[in-house]
């Protein structure tokens, strides 16, 4: 089975965000594989172990993003592709168009992605990619079963579960609950450094800078107003509960 994962490196979710000179400060920040992409990598490895084939992980991003690919290789992926060409850095339109060029001749049976990245959180790139490749997609899956070319996936639809039937080739976006991503083993980490990592340029992919230029542009980045700690209520439990309800009703007016 020809298995692919498109992933992204993001800030660790425990990082605080600092804005400096109108931009998010990256110095000293710990970067990790986007948590939702970990589910995709784990599921890809499980599919390979069950059905045979190879797992190729693909990312677009600066040099530092190689670390996320190495993590995926250490988990058990077979090959990595790192697109570092700045032409590929733009918005979701840009990323999906570049990835579609990469995937055009790959005959992927399945492409797995996170359902969104925890940085921009727009959840567009994977679904755009499926549309551009003219393959079907199932979003926010929590279960995946493949037999031959038949696929059954559970889709998380705001708490309800839709049991979805589909056929390969297919793109899925992975939701929490799909699996428990493994930690890379020491042997895995050692092996990862010897696994192939390709570095195609925009030219290699046939990407024309003008055709992938971003459609959306950030004009301002800002932090929410800092919240001040509120009132800690005093008294015994019964008094505090009475006071709280009264405050919610009369001061905050939310009841």
């Amino acid at each position: 089975m020809n298995i692919y994962v498109a992933l992204k490196q993001t800030f660790d979710t425990e990082e605080k965000i600092v804005v400096e000179g109108g931009k998010i400060k990256e110095d000293g920040v710990r970067f990790v594989m986007n948590p939702y992409d970990e589910y995709a990598v784990e599921e890809a490895i499980k599919l390979r172990d069950e059905h045979g084939g190879t797992v190729t992980v693909v990312t677009i991003g600066p040099e530092r993003a190689q670390e996320a690919l190495r993590t995926a290789l250490a988990m058990g992926a077979d090959e990595a592709v790192h697109i570092t060409d700045e032409v590929a850095f733009g918005d979701e339109f840009t990323a999906s168009t570049v990835l579609a060029k990469y995937f055009a001749d790959k005959n992927a049976d399945i492409i797995l992605c996170g359902n969104m990245a925890v940085d921009n959180g727009s959840g567009q790139t994977a679904i755009r990619l499926a549309e551009l490749l003219n393959i079907a997609h199932v979003g926010t899956i929590t279960k995946l079963e493949i037999s031959g070319t038949d696929v059954v996936a559970h889709r998380d639809a705001e708490g309800d579960v839709e049991v979805v039937g589909a056929k390969l080739p297919l793109l899925v976006t992975c939701q929490q609950g799909l699996n428990d991503p493994r930690y890379p083993s020491l042997i895995g980490i050692r092996k990862a450094n010897k696994k192939p990592l390709e570095n195609p340029s925009a030219g290699d992919l046939g990407v024309d800078a003008g055709a992938v230029a971003a459609k959306s542009k950030v004009v301002e980045t800002f932090l929410p107003p800092a919240k001040e700690g509120g009132r800690i209520l005093a008294g015994d439990n019964a008094e505090r509960v009475k006071e709280l309800v009264s405050l919610l009703k009369n001061e905050a007016k939310v009841l």
Binding site: I127, E158, I232
Partner: protein, 326 residues
């Protein structure tokens, strides 16, 4: 410069969700005198078109088909593509919901258009639409512009201001017939398993009662559910509670999980890890109940009670029962 805006009605179990009215109200402002259209894609659109007119749609485009009973990306994309080609809008609003967030990027790619996701505000600046959206799950925000004659935006529920309904308004209804043969649809729904508790949807809930590690067990969520029932609230959870299997991941609120902005948020037995705060700190009023006075959650809470949640929550439920009955 006026523009035409198409709003896809967000339906759940055949009813219009509130975010639909929020989108229409915003569209009326943002159109600057242009047309505001609504689109209804459903198994049956019975009874919703009048309400769409009351909130500002002058024309409603309807695609009704048995194949649209459940959300299937290929079917919904074909239907919305047909409506867009007929209505020829400059902007398409969809809810940032299970359907909208899945459908919008598919259509944006099909039309080669830009999209801005999960917006919480739209303003006019120098004749351009400027969209505000959270990044890092609300740890920061960006303002964005999108170029092109057609753009897509998905809208977060509970954020745009809903105008009052004007029941004297009417709209022309245009029904488009779209062929959706089963063999043209590459995915199909075998079954839908309803899991949502009490029917209150986290993303649209006005009040949320959330539990964390301090709740200690699945059983420990019972008093929270009882509190939620009295308030007509939804129940949520922190990642720690989900990881400990006290509850389903569908309830998780945070940077991984759902981002929510209710009017009132109860954080019960939740310490307030950064990743959780990202998902809820934009709530209008926050109440924290925690036995640790040093818990970071108290730094974002409007009202805090330091104490044992298993004593306080049942008392709170009783008190609310009394007060709300008055």
């Amino acid at each position: 410069m006026s523009r035409n805006i198409l709003v896809l009605a967000d339906l759940r179990n055949g009813g219009l969700r509130n975010v639909t009215f929020e989108m229409l109200s915003a569209a009326v402002q943002a159109a600057e005198g242009g047309n505001v259209y609504a689109a209804v894609i459903a198994g049956s659109a019975a009874g919703v078109t009048d309400t769409l007119a009351h909130y500002g749609a002058t024309k409603v485009f309807v695609v009704e088909n048995a194949a649209l009973e459940n959300y299937v990306p290929d079917a919904y994309a074909t239907a919305l593509e047909a409506i867009i080609k007929e209505a020829n809008p400059n902007v398409v609003f969809l809810a940032h919901s299970a359907i909208g967030r899945d459908l919008a990027p598919k259509l944006a790619a099909r039309f080669g258009a830009g999209q801005v996701s999960d917006i919480i505000n739209v303003e006019l600046e120098g004749g351009n639409l400027v969209f505000t959206r959270p990044i890092y799950a609300g740890k920061a925000f960006t303002k964005n512009v999108v170029e092109g004659d057609l753009l897509f935006a998905t809208v977060r529920p509970n954020n745009l201001t809903k105008a009052d309904a004007d029941t004297s308004r009417t709209a022309d209804v245009t029904t488009l017939s779209v062929e959706l043969p089963a063999d043209s649809l590459r995915t199909f729904i075998k079954e839908v398993v309803k899991k949502s508790t009490g029917g209150v949807d986290l993303s649209e809930a006005k009040i949320i009662v959330s539990g964390g590690r301090g709740v200690k067990s699945a059983e420990g969520f019972k008093p929270l559910q009882e509190l939620a029932d009295v308030l007509g609230a939804a129940v949520g959870a922190s990642r720690a509670a989900c990881d400990a299997e006290y509850c389903d991941y569908a309830l998780q609120i945070g940077q991984t999980g759902k981002v929510v902005t209710p009017d009132l948020y109860f954080a019960v037995g939740i310490s307030g890890a950064i990743q959780h705060l990202a998902g809820m700190s934009a709530s209008k009023v926050i109440v924290a109940i925690n036995k640790d006075p040093e818990a970071p959650i108290f730094k974002v809470a409007d009202y805090g009670i330091v104490g044992d949640l298993f004593e306080i929550v049942p008392l709170l439920t009783e008190e609310l029962k009394n007060v709300l009955a008055e």
